[in-house]
Amino acid sequence: MIKTFDVTTIRKDFPIFQTGIAYLDSANTSQRPHQVTGAMMEYFEKFNSNIHRAAYRIAEEATERYEGTREKVRDFINATSTKEIIYTRGTTEAINLVAYSWGRKNIKQGDMIVLTVLEHHSNIVPWQILAAERGATIEYVDIDERGELLQDQFRALLERSPKLVAFGQVSNALGTINPAMEMVAAAKAAGATVLVDGAQGAPHQGVDVRALGCDFYAFSGHKMLGPTGAGILYGRRELLEAMDPFMSGGDMIKTVRLEGTTYHDLPWKFEAGTQAIAEVIGLGAAIDYLSELGMEAVRSHEREITEYAYEALSEIEGLTVYGPPPSRRAGVISFAVEGIHPHDLATIADRDQVCLRAGHHCAMPLMTRLGVAATARASFYIYSQKDEVDRLVGSIKEAQRIFK
C-alpha cells in the first residue's frame, strides 16, 4: 500500500522536528520516525529477550521479529534468499567483513584492487590494510571537474584484470550518482569481484541487487530512518558459503568440540554473539516506512528539494557548489562560500538551529583532489522541506554579513 507523499504529514511522524531544527545532515545520519522508535520500544517493553536460544514465548516473538527484518531487507533489495542477508553494525563493518573474510582468502600478492577517489574512508582503509598485508596494489579512478568518475580510465584499469572493484553507488561528499549498472557489468565482464557501497544509495534510490549484478552490497540502517548499530551486508550465496567467519564465538556455530568447531549455516555463520536485536527490529520498521512511501516517490521528492536548493544556493554571490548538476546528483550539496571557512559557516548556521555539516565528510582523498580542506554540506531526505533550505540561505547571508 503506497501512501501519498506529503512532507507535512511525513514530518508529523518525526518528533524531533518539534524542536524547531532545520535538519540538513541526513547523509550523515537520518532522523527516525516514531514508528521505528516505537517498534524498538515494543521489543524492550513487551518481548525483551535473547534470540535463537530460549524456548519461551517472548523469545520466540523476539526471534520472529529479528528474522522478520531479514525478509524485509531481502525484499527491499530484491536478493534471492535471506541467506544472503547478513546483519552488521553498519556499512563499515560490512565492508570490513568482506575485506577480512573474502579478501584474505582471495587477494594474493601482485593482485590489483580498483577503487575511486570518491570513496568514503570506509571503502578505502579496509582495502589499504588488506593490500599492504597481501602485497596487492590499489588503483583509484579519478573524477572530472563535475565530480563524475572518468569512465575511460575505469575501463582502462579493468583491462589490467583487477581482482576486486569496489565503489559507492552515490558519493556521500558530492552526491554524484555513479552509473553503477554499467560499472558493475563492465567489472564483471573483466572478471572482477564487485562490491558496491550502498550507504548513500539504498536509503535514497533503493537497489535491486540482482539487476545490479554485484557480488557484495553494503549499507547502513541509520541513514534510512533506522537506528544506529544495524546495517546489512548482501553477498551472493556461493561467495558467502566459501568464506570463513569474520567474528567467531556464540551463535555462529553448529557444534563446538575441544578438537574443533563446525560453523552455522548462512546467514548466521557471520553473526557471532548477541546481536543488536532492538536495532534490527527498528530497521525492519524503517524499511516498512520507506516501502509504504515507495522508493520512486522518495527519489522524486529528493530530486525536487535538491533542485530547489541547488538553484537557491547557486544564486548566492561567492558561493561555489561542488559536483554534478542536480539531474545527476542525489540529495547532497557540498559547497564553499568565499572567505568563510565551512566550520564558521556551520557555527553561524547552528545559531539559527540549522544543522549543517562542515568537514571532510570522511573523504579526505576527495577533498585533496578538489584542493580544499573541507566543504560545507547540506543533505536531504524524505522529510526535508523548502523552508529548511530558505533558512540555510538566511544563515549563509548572515555569515556573509559578519565576515564581509
Binding site: H341, P342, H343, D344, T347, I348, A358, G359, H360, M364, M367, A373, A374, E398, R401, I402, F403, K404
Partner: protein, 135 residues
Amino acid sequence: MSSAADDQFYREYILDHYKNPRNFGRLENPDISHEEDNPLCGDVIGMDFRVKEGVIEDVRFHGRGCAISQASASLLTERLKGLPLEDAKKINKADVLGELGIDISPARIKCALLSLKVLKVGAYGLAGDAMDEEE
C-alpha cells in the same frame, strides 16, 4: 538581528585577526619549524621560530583554517614575539582561550588550541597525546 560589530562570537578583533593575520608567512632558515593538523577538519597550522639567546626573536605562522584557528594563531604569535622561551613554555590553554575572549563550544575547542599545540609539540617536544590528555 545583531550587527557584526557586537556579535558575541565573531567579534570585531577575531575577524580582524582572521582577515589580516599578524606574522603570517614563513621564515627563512628557522631554528624551529613545526606543523600540526586538526584531523577533524583537515585544517593545518605551522609555525617557524627564530630563537636567539633563549628569546623568540621572530615567529611566523602559516596554514589554513577557520576564523577561530587563524585568529588564535595570530594572537599567539603576537604574544610570542620577544618572549623568552622559558616564558613561552608556560603559556597554557586558559591563556589562549582567555586571549580569544569568547565562549568556545566543545566542537570548536580544537580549532582554538591548534596553534598552541604547534607551539608545544614543535618547540618543546611535548607529545601531542600529552596535550590531548590535558584537555
